[in-house]
Structure formats: C-alpha cells, structure tokens
C-alpha cells in the first residue's frame, strides 16, 4: 500500500486550497441552479467572430503543428507593436514569450527569479496565485495589505516598510482583481525611487490593462528606469474575451526573457498553435472589439456602483477590471458569513473578500461581467438581504 503522504511534496501539500475555489465548489451543487451569481471572473462576451474564424481557418488548413517555443514570430511581432501602440512600451519581438494564459506568464516570472528564502511583496487583496507560486519556489510572500482609504493602491510608505534586504520581487497587480483599483502614472512614479536603484524585479500583472475607465492605463515599465527591472505579464483572456483559448504573454528585457523561456521550453514546449493564429488576428484587427466591450463594462460599472450605493452599501468606485469590491463591514458579519447567508437565504452568489487574502475581510467581490437584467435581479436580492439584517 502506497503512503501518499510520504510521496507528495510537503511544499505542495502545505499549500492551502484557494478560498475562491472553496466558494465556487459550493455553487457547483445541483441545488444551486436557482442562484443568481455575480461570481464569474471572465467576460460574458464571446470571442469576436473574426478572431474565432482565424482559429478555425488555421485548423482547416491543417496548421496543427508546434510553434517555436517563444511563439510564432508573427505573433511576437504583433505583441511588440500592440504594446507600443497602446502603452508606449518598447519591446523587441524576441523580448516577448507567448504563454499558456497570463497564469503561466506569472508562474514563469516568479520561477525565473525567486530562490529559497527570497521575499516577494504581494499586495492583497489580489488574485490568488502569486503567494502559492512563490512558496513553491521556496520563497517567502510578504503580504502588503492595501486599504480602502487609499483606494486599494500601494503607497510609497507601505512599500518602503515591506522592502528588506531579501526582497527579490514586487508583484504589481493593477488594474486589480478583485478591488477594481488602478494605479495612475503619478501613483506609480511615487513608488519608483524605492525600486530604481535596487535589484528588485517588478512583476506587473496587466491582464486587465484594457479595462481601465476614466483614463488610460499606465504600465510601470514605461516609467523612467523601470523597463530594465520589469516583467510584464498579460494576455488575451480579458481584453479579447478569449479565456478558453489559454493564451497570454510576457515581455521583459532579454536577460530575463531568455531564462523564462528555458522554463517554458521544458514545461510547456509552446502555447496552443490554434490560439496563436487567433491571437494574431485579435491584435491586428481587434482594437474596435475592445473598445465596444470596454464601453459596455463601463456602463455596467456605473450601474452597479450606483445600485450598491442606493441600497446603502459603501463602495470604492472601481476604475479598472470588471469587479466591484463593496465594504460590508457595517453589517457586522464576516465576509464568509455575509456571502453564505446571501447565498443560502437569498439565492445570490458573490465571492467573500477573504478569498483574495486576509485583507479582504469585510469586503466581497462582485463581478459585473453580466447583463444589466442579471445585475438588476442580483441587486434586488442583495437589497432584500441587507434590509433584513
């Protein structure tokens, strides 16, 4: 009889099950069919037809082979041009790597940089993957709790107190899932003096860059002295509604890109070829699709923000991504209690803020990647719930 506990890596068994997974497992039950959920972290748009068609055409022509490890040269070229066009970032095509979603990009960046004992500053609330990957590398996640009074941004003082001699990396997850916070050029500039003359690498997760409202997204890599120390991770999932295609990318200076590519070569070989053909079409002719989708998200953002305020729920006005992160502290319930009761008693699902780090206590994540009709129904259930509290 095999003893699995002695077989499995202690690092892996020591990882906590993700809080968001725990909550999503509840929703998969048959008894939850009548629940109106605002939980999904992906667009409600379908990948635009011309992009799907490019993928289909590649299959029809039998293009079912591997691509080069870093991705098709044409796609690297398009990524390079896109980053210049949209965010004024200069990367040569060979400084980009096409990955299996933004998730692999994050994984490669952390694995290429972090060694046992290294500290990685992880602002929370944030997407769930950073700290576990750091731990799998033997690194130490240093949690930087962002605050609602600072609009969930990182301040220079907070960053300063988190940096030690062992700091190897800063994760910069903006626009942010789950808070909807962004960091403007001026706010990023306030952080750069703490980073510029150090060996700290910034992992800038910009997967929601296109979903920036009331202004333009600014990448920290575009700031003076930051390009050389930044790894930019992004992808096609959110901007082009291509989650299932599993396609992302990295952009980084050659000395970093070369090492990340080695991991990618051994672990993945190359990203899905069909998706790469579709992505070329997306980057060439998809700007208008993005504009249309972002306008729609923006309308829903205003609608849900005003809706929550009307109900009497305090809220930070999100400026990016497609989430809103209401403050539920005044109701006297923990995030988990609030969300569970809303789920079981009023059949409405939103995600407890604690799924995104302990600093999410007192908050909940609501996705507005849903139709207005769906959002309206969910809001009326939330209203009934909070009125009964």
């Amino acid at each position: 009889m095999i003893d699995y506990s002695s077989v499995l890596s202690k690092t892996v068994t020591g990882l906590k099950k993700s809080g968001i997974r725990k909550f999503f497992d509840l929703l998969n039950d048959e008894s939850m069919k009548d629940v109106v959920g605002l939980t999904v972290g992906q667009p409600d748009f379908v990948t635009p037809w011309h992009i799907r068609e490019a993928g289909i055409e590649s299959l029809q022509k039998g293009k079912t082979y591997y691509s080069p490890n870093a991705g098709f040269t044409q796609l690297q070229l398009e990524i390079s041009e896109y980053l210049k066009r949209r965010f004024d970032l200069s990367y040569r095509p060979e400084e980009t790597i096409v990955t299996v979603g933004g998730s692999e990009a994050i994984d490669l960046a952390i694995r290429a940089v972090v060694e046992p004992g290294d500290e990685v500053i992880v602002p929370t609330p944030s997407f769930v993957c950073y700290a576990p990957i750091v731990r799998m590398c033997g690194g130490v996640p240093v949690i930087l709790e962002t605050k609602m009074e600072n609009n969930f941004k990182i301040t220079a003082d907070e960053l300063k107190s988190a940096i030690t001699d062992k700091t190897k990396m800063l994760v910069l997850p903006y626009p942010n899932n789950p808070t909807g916070a962004i960091m403007t050029r001026e706010e990023l500039e306030a952080l750069t003096p703490l980073l510029r003359d150090t060996n700290i690498v910034v992992l800038s997760d910009e997967i929601y860059a296109e979903m920036t409202y009331d202004g333009e997204h600014c990448s920290i890599a575009s700031l003076d002295g930051m390009w050389e120390r930044t790894i930019l991770a992004s992808g096609f999932s959110k901007a082009y509604a291509m989650t299932g295609w599993r396609l992302g990318y990295l952009a980084a200076p050659a000395p970093l890109a070369e090492q990340m590519l080695k991991i990618h070569q051994y672990a993945i070989m190359c990203a899905p070829t069909t998706s790469q053909f579709a992505a070329v079409e997306a980057l060439k002719n998809g700007d208008e699709d993005i504009r249309m989708m972002v306008e729609e998200y923006d309308r829903r953002r205003r609608y849900i923000y005003e809706g929550l305020k009307r109900i009497g729920i305090d809220c930070f006005e999100p400026k990016g991504a497609f989430y809103i992160f209401p403050d539920i502290r005044k109701f006297g319930l923990s995030s988990e209690e609030f969300c569970n009761r809303l789920l079981y008693e009023y059949r409405c699902a939103i995600v407890p803020g604690t799924a995104f780090g302990d600093s999410g206590e007192g908050f909940a994540r609501i996705s507005y990647a849903y139709s207005v009709k769906h959002i309206t129904e969910a809001l009326s259930r939330i209203e009934a719930f909070v009125k009964a509290l």
């Binding site: 998969n28 609608y303 309206t376």
Partner: protein, 158 residues
C-alpha cells in the same frame, strides 16, 4: 449620441433611471433626449424580438423582388408608398442592382402571399415584374440569432 441610440437599440427595456446611470446623465436629461428623438422621428418605436417558430402561430414570409417604372418627379417614392401601406408588408427597401424594390411580406399561408402578389402588388401601375422567394428559415434578424437560447455556460474560474 450614437452610443446612446445604440444602447437603446440593443435593449429597449432599459429604464430612464438605468440609462441615466449608465450614460452619466440626469434622469430628466434622458427623458428630454428620448422625447426629442421621438419628435424628430429618430426613434420610431419599441418592439420585441419574438421567435414565432417556437409558438403555434402559422405564418409564411416571402421576399419579393419588384421591378418598377420610376415616375416623373416622384422617382420610386410614390410606388414605394403604395406598397408600404399594405399591412402585409413588413420591410421595403429600394435596391441597387437587378431589381428596384425588395418587399418582405408576411402572410398566414402561401396562398395568402400568392394572392397578395397577384392581386395587390402586381396590379399596381408601374410595377413591371415580381419574383417571389419564400423564406424557409430565419437564422438572424436585427443582430439577434434565432433558435439559440442564450445559456451562461461560463465556469466559475478566476
């Protein structure tokens, strides 16, 4: 302005309050805008998309190509007016190419459509010829795909 109209075209059920929040305007401004659009004939009506094939209703639709002789001074308009006033006519377009007017009509039966073409349309002075094509199936109308129920299949992930 175009964005506002597009929003309304896609979903006429949005209330003035919802539109106001979504478009960063006051409710009163939305009401005024809509009133003005209605007065100017920019907004002509509000209808519901119904897939009649999912009901018991029996009907047939036909696309009729019509060739006509344009009238002095009035061009095609006078004939077009006579045609669009028939309640059976759902859509009417002046076309470039091999014929002049495309008439989309709806009737209860093929016989009824045939009667309309022979007894009403073909009888109009200036109509030179007609060619009737029956619609076998409607796949998409006004941007809406028919026969497919929109189900949210997105997984809870991310």
């Amino acid at each position: 302005m175009d964005n506002f109209l597009k929003l309304l075209e896609d979903n006429a059920t949005l209330t003035h309050e919802q539109l106001a929040v979504m478009c960063k305007k006051e409710v009163g401004d939305i009401k005024k805008m809509i009133d003005q659009y209605e007065k100017d004939g920019v907004i002509l009506g509000y209808k519901t998309m119904i897939d009649w094939d999912k009901t018991d209703r029996e009907y047939v639709t036909a696309l009729i190509e019509v060739k006509i002789t344009p009238q002095r001074d009035r061009g095609f308009d006078r004939v077009a007016e006579r045609i669009y006033n028939f309640p059976e006519v759902q859509n009417l377009y002046l076309m470039s190419g091999g014929y002049d007017l495309a008439v989309l009509i709806e009737g209860k039966t093929m016989k009824e459509v045939a009667y309309f073409v022979a007894q009403k349309l073909a009888m109009i002075e200036d109509v030179i010829s007609t060619a009737t094509h029956f619609v076998l199936r409607k796949y998409k109308d006004k941007g809406v795909i028919y026969g497919v129920v929109d189900v949210d299949e997105r997984g809870n992930c991310g």
